[in-house]
Amino acid sequence: MSTEVTDYRSVEERVDVSQRVQTLPAPAPDQELLTLNMGPHHPATHGVLRLLVTLEAEVVRDLKPIIGYVHTGIEKTAEDKSYWKAIPVMERMDYLAYYFNAYAFCGATETLLDVEVPKRAQYLRVIHMELNRIMSHLVWLGTSMLDLGAVTVWWYCFRERETILDLFEYSSGQRMHTRYFQVGGVIEDIPVGWAEKCRQFVKDMPSKIDQYLDLLNRNEIALRRLRGTCPLDEQTLLDLGVTGPLLRAAGNPWDLRKAMPYCSYEDFEFKIPVGQRGDNFDRYAVRMQEMKESVKIIEQALDGLPEGPYITDDRKVALPPRHELATSMEALIHHFKLVTEGFRVPPGEVYFPIEGPRGEYGVFIRSDGSSKPARVHMRDPSFVNLQATLPMVKDAYIADLIATLAMMDPVLGGVDR
């Protein structure tokens, strides 16, 4: 921030809004509390989230999240499909983190099968997941700034998001819900020219992030809405099971990619951005820096992308290459078995957690030895993080509730599943 402030700004700086909220007198018996219904179809609730808010004047005294409006029984549906056919439905849970959903499911299945994933497939997965993380953060940034009244940044965010979706389309044929990850690897190697396009994106992206920061970091309105509003301390967040950028904003550097590395994340150098005060501004700032770190990971993964197979050569799990079908009876049988029944998975129960854009995505699978999972459960970070809404916004203004909801970044597809 510049040290020169105008008179107007210095007067504004001295106004301590938090004190005003604190010193409100206790509600007199005759003073009415207003119960206000927000949502489920409210543009600022980021999906179909319904909040029952109890207000005293403009101050939030109580809040009840009501969810389930987009519950589509994805976990139940997955139990009726063979493992490889369940991947597309899993991807549709948190619709901004489809690579993460797919990876958590494939990872859990691979753990049950005890299948080795080739190094090249792991790197390709990392590249796509980090692109997905940037994409998810871009949607968060655009929509949440829209909530705060900033329209411009939304256009810029979606411009870069398009570039990422083009990359997804280039590698898999789909912009969203790509089904690129398979049990044992990825469905296809990246096409010719993809790496160059991705490198171009990696080269451009840091300056684009700086553009967003320039737009917002000295923006009077954004700062007033974010700085110092609705902080929550680290211990409360830990007790509530909150993970991801929300926890890191409060100063706890917990990141599964670093703490308990999976999918070759130990090969890459990156930092974990943390905040200090745990307020809305820190939540915003942490995600902005995370995008820069993701860019670094993608760059390293592209540089170090090993040669070799992109999917396991275990014919009991992965489809045989197309050209073998014409010449090998064995391959034809494997292909037929995999496509009709699917592969059988040894009985057991696993929980496979990964670090998604919103926190810990964990998939629990119970296998009974057949080719369909007996139970699939997604520990979705949005669902667990939603419990922190009330502690965050209690005794804050209703306007800050909107800003906090934006900074929490819940995706209701993941909450309701």
Binding site: K76, H377, Q387
Partner: protein, 176 residues
């Protein structure tokens, strides 16, 4: 304790600290330990494990083991952020008495998650402050994640058919 003897030692430790019948058994599968406990002791077991470093409850899963008995299961995923270790605590309850003491008071994160298990499997968490359905509508009957709940068992209600006075489970020709 990332090995099988470590999990067994931890179980032994719990048996001595609490009571011998608390821990029913242990399991070590794919580099991760699990402890099976009796449902009534879940609160004490989780507290004892908290004292042994597993300070974070990351997830609560409901499972239906149909056709095995006892049918319903609840699993608690614990995390030790210092030793970087995970542990599952598993318990089983029968269908006719599906009560498990709630751990919400000590582990606030379990609030929504216990409600979800209640909603989907009909497990009753005793002592939960607000045990209502969370994902399904409040007037919903049945527990959809149970294994004997059929997929497609839910008739789809179309308002057009309803206003026309037709039974919504019927086809357009009036035949089911």
């Amino acid at each position: 304790m990332p090995d099988a003897p470590g999990t067994e030692l931890l179980a032994q430790d719990l048996r001595e600290a609490l009571s011998p019948e608390t821990v029913v058994g242990t399991e070590f599968f794919r580099d991760k330990g699990a402890i099976h406990v009796v449902p009534t002791a879940i609160g004490e077991v989780l507290e004892a494990l908290r004292a042994r470093g597993f300070k974070h409850l990351m997830s609560v899963h409901g499972v239906d083991y149909y056709p095995e008995e006892p049918r319903l299961g609840v699993q608690y995923e614990l995390l030790d952020r210092e030793a970087l270790d995970r542990l599952t605590v598993k318990l089983r309850v029968p269908l006719d008495a599906p009560t498990v003491p709630s751990v919400t008071a000590k582990w606030p994160t379990a609030d929504f998650q216990e409600r979800e298990v209640h909603d989907m499997f009909g497990v009753v968490f005793e002592g939960h402050p607000d045990l209502r359905r969370i994902l399904m509508p409040e007037d919903y009957e049945g527990f959809p994640q149970r294994r004997d709940f059929p997929i497609g068992g839910e008739p789809v209600l179309f308002t057009a058919a309803e206003t026309a006075g037709r039974d919504y489970t019927m086809g357009s020709d009036g035949v089911a």
